[in-house]
């Protein structure tokens, strides 16, 4: 069915192709759906689910066939890939859309792309792709454009239209996270570029194939636009094979159940998804307003951050206050008023990355179901003010590592939800926060096979998880963007990276302390090996906690970097001398430095974002993957749990003493905690706490003085200044809360730091012949 029909030609650039065979353009069709949804509150006006109610079994059968087929296509197609990111980490996903680009069903995998590919389809609809370049059976479209909804450029999507009897009835999209996008520096989430123009090869819904065959100009251009063409080729074949399998599946289903049932299902399942979210919220939470906030550091003045633009040399903080309003009917509003402005770095996010991506997190906790689709989006009201980091108003913004702050922004939401679960009594669902999923080990050069290469370790998919209200978080287990985390086998990573492992172990003290501690992260020590002209860099949080615990639980440890050059390891290995192997167990009293030459160049600091730097063979690099935050007062932690943590080297003795009040003895490395003495010591600590405490009002008075005197670091002031600059509402709330004088203000111009872009900005929507798709309240 999906072959070119010579009769089905569009009528030119301005043309109307009657793809739907109903006399409507795709845009008119989509407008109709949106209007009926807005008018009634039900998706496409579906107050009644006629198919589901009249034939619940038949409806379930359709669901089961389509969903099973999507999952199966993903499992089969992923074996084509060469990239461990796709094959081992499962960073691919396939999604089925109706003709308007609303998601019907999605496979497993990184389901953030439920909406990102939908946004691309909507962009094609709004910008008359049906007239030019036209949409025909057998076409393929490729997109990774972050200005129209992609999360970051390394997520490449292939989108294939589905026709039935020459009529467009839907779309299928497949996305993979590629290992390199040809940006300024190697790796999929590179640093160094500060604008879109350095972010890598950017493709805007381009027609890249006809008649089920990729076009040669596309193949030639795309493969030379990235550093790792081999991975690129097989990733594309993975996406195409999966999309075609799903297109066949849809054709099979229609042959069996009829087009009418299929199309009805395609609408009803979205409305059902909308209702599903409402009933989950009703069942699990308590209505009300929950407020949380998250921050992350952007340390760009350091000399190891080498950027091309002077105006990007700025230390700042990203700010994500969020207000969750849960209403009595189970609907909710997620409001990010007060968020800081986008910046000259790669941590900006399109609003669709936010409104779509958020379900990869929600499906781990609030809606752990296969029935996730755009219905959940329609049950949620998003407020993402234009100009913020999560809805930029300038077409120059960089997005390569949008996750740097998405992980923190969402973690705050999850904490808010956890509070709602806790209020309702669902303690088992509570998650005290999330790890900042870093470090990202990235770099490139000439690898062990003598080829131009880029690396991007995905060990970060296995960070520690946040503590629950009834148990500890899991060590090295998951990421907020992937509950099915996996660090993979060393022997596989060593095929992909010219970096010899010298250790892999649990990172002591990385999980946040608490009655239930956060899961610990882990760390791997690498020695550069068998490479030429090799470079690497770091990416993660360093100076700040990007999330914190609940009910007295501590945040997880922040990041730090360790790298060493001119180590003398070659000679030490040859002479049988001591060499660093294993963990950097106590960074305050480091041991690695004892086993390398005294003249080695060592960088051991909190600068966790750097740009491409040169590494010789025998140089060292520590990849430290973060832990999760804790829950509850550490003084309530069970004695046996502390003892066990010390004996497993999850907790350093000094902190068992200081934070948990543990009194213990040690015999040949085996710790024994004394219950009675610990109890007594904890009573003392509680008294010490009381002695230190001041009434909140008193403390606020002191803080107010500091605010009025602007007694805060420039980074903090800059963060607030950009938030104030974007939101009068936020400014007024801030001033009211702290009882500040009416004329108090904080402006970027008074801070003496670069303010390029703070006044003059130009959005993509101002380009000629461009209609952007807005999917939130701005």
């Amino acid at each position: 069915m999906n072959v070119i029909n010579p009769l089905n030609k569009g009528s030119g650039d301005t043309g109307f192709a009657d793809l739907l065979k109903n006399g409507q353009t795709l845009k008119q069709y989509r407008d109709g759906i949106m209007k009926r949804t807005a008018d009634t509150g039900y998706y496409n006006g579906l107050e009644k689910l006629a198919l589901r109610d009249s034939d619940p079994i038949g409806y379930e059968k359709l669901f089961s066939k389509l969903r099973g087929g999507l999952v199966h296509a993903r499992e089969t197609a992923k074996k084509i890939a060469a990239s461990p990111i796709v094959e081992q980490e499962g960073e691919l996903c396939f999604t089925l859309y109706n003709a308007a680009g609303d998601c019907i069903l999605t496979s497993t995998g990184i389901i953030i792309h439920v909406g990102t590919m939908g946004a691309a389809i909507k962009y094609m609809i709004e910008n008359n792709w049906e007239g030019n370049p036209r949409i025909n059976p057998g076409d393929m479209f490729t997109t990774n454009d972050c200005a129209i909804g992609n999360v970051h450029p390394c997520d490449i999507a292939t989108i294939v239209p589905i026709f039935w009897e020459d009529r467009l009835i839907g779309w299928v999209g497949g996305v993979t996270h590629v290992i390199d996008t040809g940006s300024v520096t190697p790796g999929s989430m590179s640093t160094g570029q500060v604008q879109r123009f350095g972010d890598g090869y950017m493709i805007t819904c381009r027609k890249t194939g006809v008649n089920d065959t990729p076009l040669r100009d596309w193949l030639h251009e795309s493969q030379r636009s990235v550093r790792t063409p081999k991975y690129w080729i097989l990733d594309e074949r993975t996406r195409i094979a999966g999309c075609h399998m799903i297109r066949e599946l849809v054709e099979d289903v229609i042959r069996h159940d009829g087009i009418e049932a299929y199309e009805k299902f395609g609408f009803e399942v979205i409305e059902e998804g909308r209702r599903g979210l409402l009933s989950r919220i009703k069942a699990m939470t308590l209505p009300g307003i929950y407020r949380k906030v998250a921050f992350v550091d952007v340390p760009y003045t350091h000399p190891d951050v080498q950027v091309s633009s002077a105006f990007a040399k700025l230390d700042s903080i990203m700010h994500s206050p969020c207000e969750i309003t849960i209403k009595k009917d189970g609907s909710w509003r997620l409001d990010f008023e007060g968020a800081s402005r986008w910046g000259w770095h790669t941590f900006n996010a399109h609003h669709v990355a936010f409104t779509s991506g958020i379900w990869v997190m929600m499906s781990q906790t609030l809606v752990p179901t296969q029935r996730i689709n755009d219905g959940a989006f329609f049950a949620t009201q998003f407020h993402l003010p234009k100009g913020t980091w999560c809805n930029p108003d300038d077409r120059r913004t960089g997005h390569a590592y949008a996750w740097h702050f998405l992980v923190s922004g969402w973690a705050a939401l999850w904490r808010g939800l956890s509070q709602a679960y806790f209020s309702r009594g669902y303690l088992e669902e509570v998650n005290a926060g999330n790890a900042n999923t870093s470090n990202w080990l990235q770099g490139g050069g000439i690898n062990q096979d003598g080829e131009i290469h880029a690396v991007n370790s995905f060990e970060a998919s296995s960070c520690g998880t946040g503590a629950c209200a009834v148990k500890d978080g899991l060590n090295h287990a998951a990421a907020i963007w992937n509950p099915e985390g996996d660090m993979g086998d060393i022997e596989i990573w060593e095929m992909a990276e010219p970096l010899l492992y010298l250790g892999r172990n649990v990172k002591a003290n990385s999980g946040g302390y608490g009655k239930y501690r956060g899961g610990c992260g882990f760390e791997t020590l690498r020695m550069v090996w068998n490479s030429h002209d090799w470079t690497m860099f770091f990416m993660g949080n360093g100076f700040m906690n990007s999330d914190w615990g609940m009910m007295g639980g501590y945040p997880s440890a922040t990041g730090y970097r360790f790298e060493a050059h001119k180590t003398g390891l070659k000679e030490r290995i040859a002479s049988g001398g001591d060499i660093p192997m294993g963990g950097d167990i106590d960074p305050t009293h480091p041991t690695y430095e004892r086993y390398i030459d005294a003249t080695a160049i060592v960088k051991r600091d909190k600068q966790c974002i750097t740009t491409e730097d040169c590494y010789e063979n025998h140089d060292l690099y520590l990849n430290y993957l973060r832990g999760g935050p804790g829950f509850g007062d550490p003084l309530d932690r069970e004695i046996e749990a502390i003892e066990n943590d010390m004996n497993q080297v999850f907790l350093l003795p000094e902190f068992a003493r200081k934070v948990y009040g543990a009194v213990f003895t040690e015999d040949k490395g085996v710790f024994k905690v004394d219950a009675a003495k610990t109890k007594a010591r904890r009573a003392e600590i509680r008294k010490e706490r009381l002695a230190r405490a001041v009434p909140t009002r008193e403390w606020m008075k002191e803080e107010r003085e500091r605010i009025i005197n602007k007694h805060a670091s420039v980074q903090v002031q800059h963060m607030f200044a950009t938030s104030f600059g974007l939101s009068e509402k936020f400014t007024n709330e801030f001033k009211k809360f702290w009882s500040l004088p009416d004329d108090w203000q904080l402006l970027e111009t008074e801070l003496g730091v670069p303010s390029y872009g703070s006044v003059h900005r130009m959005d993509l929507s101002t380009l000629p012949d461009v209609t952007t798709v807005v999917q939130c309240e701005e």
Binding site: S64, T465, I490, Y501
Partner: protein
């Protein structure tokens, strides 16, 4: 029956968690099935009791029959249970320095292995199991070999000796050695192994040493390490169990050498070196049995479907051979064992049926009632509806003859639960709700079957579907309807099919070895010949291992049939395909071309030709060698054709049966009384003590001379 002069030749044993099945086959192809409660304390006793039960059908005694047997194959869950319950030896682990925690850390994916899809994404449900070896009994020694096999840091003798002493002091009962990249270059690990053995000798310690290079030398250290640990942890105690079984046979006059079903689909001696590969064997039996039946029927493409109480297992036999998965997971551990590839859906006859509270959709499983059947059995203590409840309500199952009448089922109780939990909330009648559940389950299963076949690049019309397992024949029509199989076969002994399959298995050893061969598409003839040489060397090395195993059991090297194979992929890919080699030995460029052609043919089938990528070049990632010797296998019955009309005695009456929104009267037949050639048109239900075969309207079945039912849709 009662022809006492016909010798009994073959015994298959399936020692499951609750029941131990035995399957005896006579020289004339007649068989009996015996059942007895399993006895974890002494498996040999359960096998004896089950044998007594089986042979009673022929009025024969164990003491008389055991000496007649020429072959006996055991399969069981004892080893698996030992692992699950963490009741193995205290193992000490020697690994690279700096990696002492990697076994206890485990792979993150082990925190959700074995989970249903929805729990896999539900983070707070994830958990790790206890490691098999604690960090306190793990020691690291300085050593690193790189990915290409070069030794970067040589192993240090003093550290190995010191570690050995510490592991012995920590009361280790066995020592496992596993170094990174040792599959690529075994030198360091072998040196360490020899130091360990020498140090143990000095200490006068008799504990065994397991080096990964001697056991499972395949890439992926977490899989390899887990497997070698499993060998040390559980295999030796299991060998004791098997010895006990063998001894009891011998005490009763048996002359055969006991063999054990292994994960690769062949049987191995209980004396075999690698016993960890017997960890899972029961379900594999069915696949082997289907393969043998296929050979008899002349079917080389078979879809094996086994439906039990909790799961639906699918395996495919294509061109007469089954696929092997080389890095499977079991007992929530990633492993490096060749395992007959089977895919499972967590839905079976005992699955619970619930409405999702949020979407009102019907959910099947993932948990199941197991032996408690459903709410239709009042003594079960259950009040959640199961699939069996739906069957009982619709007349599929005889409430008075469940498990041969061992338990009586209460239809009305099931009706009320279905009404309250499913029918009323969906606005359906009880019958339509129950029928809907069955249809939905059958659809899930048939889609799964279809998807598995198309994922291998085939069309169902090329396949015969075999349906077995206790609950299989109830669902056979449902999950095969409309799929378009060439033939659908239900063996009369469906319930004992796994035990039967074990008895069919070849005496076969299989060894694998990682190799790294990469050649561009247009490599020179010299390069191709060079690659062939490397592959041939690997095959020769494996051949020695395989032959050695047979020699232990008294075979001569010339008795062994060797079958080489390899794993291949486009260069750079991470997934390979396993291919039976088109050449028996490799040396010339032409051999390489044949090796490549066989791979590309299979690749195109699996992934479609648009995914072919020859421009990237080809890699051989593994060499495989299988060796078999001839064994006695069961012969199938050859009955005379008794014509299409079933004997009057076979007809037991009728029972109301609901399907497609109406009640009809289904004719009930006694399976044992049906004769070869009998033809039955639905609606009919064919019952035996252990299984029920449903033939609804629109279907017909014929029993052939081998006592196989062939199910057809009436056009």
């Amino acid at each position: 029956m009662g022809q006492q002069n016909i010798p009994v030749q073959v015994l298959g044993i399936d020692a499951g968690g609750t029941m131990t099945d035995t399957f005896f086959v006579r020289a004339d192809g007649r068989f009996v099935v015996g059942k007895a409660q399993s006895n974890p304390g002494d498996e040999s006793l359960a096998i004896y009791n089950s044998s007594v039960d089986a042979l009673a059908h022929w009025n024969r005694k164990v003491e008389d029959v055991y000496p007649e047997l020429v072959t006996c194959v055991y399969s069981g869950t004892a080893m698996l249970n030992r692992i699950l319950m963490r009741k193995g030896l205290k193992v000490g682990l020697l690994c690279n320095r700096g990696f002492e925690q990697i076994h206890s850390m485990g792979r993150a994916l082990q925190s959700y292995l074995g989970y249903a899809l929805e729990d896999r994404i539900h983070l707070n449900t994830h958990r790790y199991d206890e490691p098999l070896v604690p960090v306190s009994r793990t020691r690291g020694v300085t050593e690193r070999t790189d990915v290409q096999g070069s030794i970067v840091i040589p192993v240090r003798e003093a550290e190995v000796r010191q570690a050995t002493r510490e592991l012995v002091a920590a009361e280790s009962q066995a020592i496992v050695i596993c170094f990174l990249q040792s599959h690529k270059n075994e030198t360091s690990e072998q040196i360490a192994r020899d130091f360990v053995k020498d140090e143990l000798k000095k200490l006068g310690s008799p504990i065994p040493v397991f080096a990964s290079v001697d056991y499972y030398p395949s890439r992926k250290e977490s899989h390899r390490m887990n497997t070698v640990i499993l060998e040390a942890y559980g295999a030796e105690p299991s060998r004791e169990t098997l010895k006990k079984v063998s001894d009891r046979f011998k005490a009763n006059g048996a002359k055969f050498d006991l063999r054990v079903m292994a994960t690769h689909g062949g049987t191995i001696s209980w004396k075999a070196k690698e016993l960890a590969r017997t960890i899972v064997s029961g379900p594999i039996g069915g696949v082997i049995g289907a393969k043998l039946l296929g050979e008899c029927l002349g079917d080389e493409n078979i879809a094996c479907s086994d439906i039990g109480g909790t799961s639906f297992d699918v395996a495919l036999i294509t061109k007469g051979s089954f696929a092997i998965k080389s890095d499977p997971d079991m007992a929530r551990l990633v492993l490096s064992l060749p395992l007959v590839a089977m895919d499972s859906v967590g839905a079976g006859a005992g699955s619970f049926v619930r409405l999702d509270p949020y979407s009102k959709s019907i959910k099947l499983g993932p948990d199941s009632a197991g032996y408690r059947v459903g709410t239709c059995w009042p003594e079960s203590g259950l009040d959640t509806v199961t699939v069996s409840d739906c069957h009982v309500v619709l007349g599929y199952l005889n409430p008075l003859n469940f498990l041969g009448g061992a338990i009586k089922l209460d239809v009305e109780r099931a009706r009320q639960h279905i009404k309250a939990q499913i029918a009323d909330p969906l606005g359906l009648s009880i019958e339509d709700a129950a029928a809907g559940v069955i249809e939905l389950l059958d659809l899930t299963l048939s889609e799964y079957l279809r998807a598995n076949i198309s994922a291998k690049g085939y069309n169902p019309a090329e396949f015969t579907c075999f349906s077995y397992g206790g609950a299989g024949p109830v669902h056979t029509y449902g999950y095969t309807e409309g799929v378009g199989f060439k033939d659908v076969v239900v063996p009369a002994w469906a319930a004992g099919f796994s035990a039967f399959g074990c008895a069919c298995a070849d005496f076969e050893y299989r060894y694998d070895k990682s190799v790294d061969l990469g050649l561009p598409e247009n490599a020179s003839d010299a390069a191709k010949a060079g690659a062939c040489k490397t592959l041939q060397e690997a095959w020769s090395e494996l051949a020695t291992k395989v032959i050695d195993e047979f020699v232990i059991n008294g075979f001569k090297p010339e008795d062994v049939l060797l079958i080489p194979g390899y794993k291949m992929q486009y260069m750079g890919q991470l997934n390979d395909l396993e291919i039976v080699s088109p050449v028996t030995s490799a040396s010339k460029a032409e051999d390489w071309n044949k090796i490549v052609d066989a791979f590309e043919l299979q690749y195109t089938r699996v992934y479609a030709s648009s995914a072919r990528s020859p421009e990237l070049g080809f890699s051989v990632t593994g060499a495989i060698l299988r060796g078999t010797v001839a064994t006695q296998k069961p012969v199938l019955p050859e009955d005379a054709n008794a014509g299409p009309t079933p004997p009057a005695a076979a007809k037991l009456g009728t029972r109301p049966f609901y399907r497609h929104k109406k009640w009809v009267d289904a004719v009930i037949y006694k399976m044992e009384s049906l004769l070869a050639g009998n033809h039955i048109v639905g609606p009919a239900i064919i019952e035996s003590d252990s299984t029920t075969f449903v033939v609804p309207n629109g279907f017909e079945t014929t029993i052939d001379k081998h006592r196989l039912f062939h199910l057809k849709e009436v056009k």
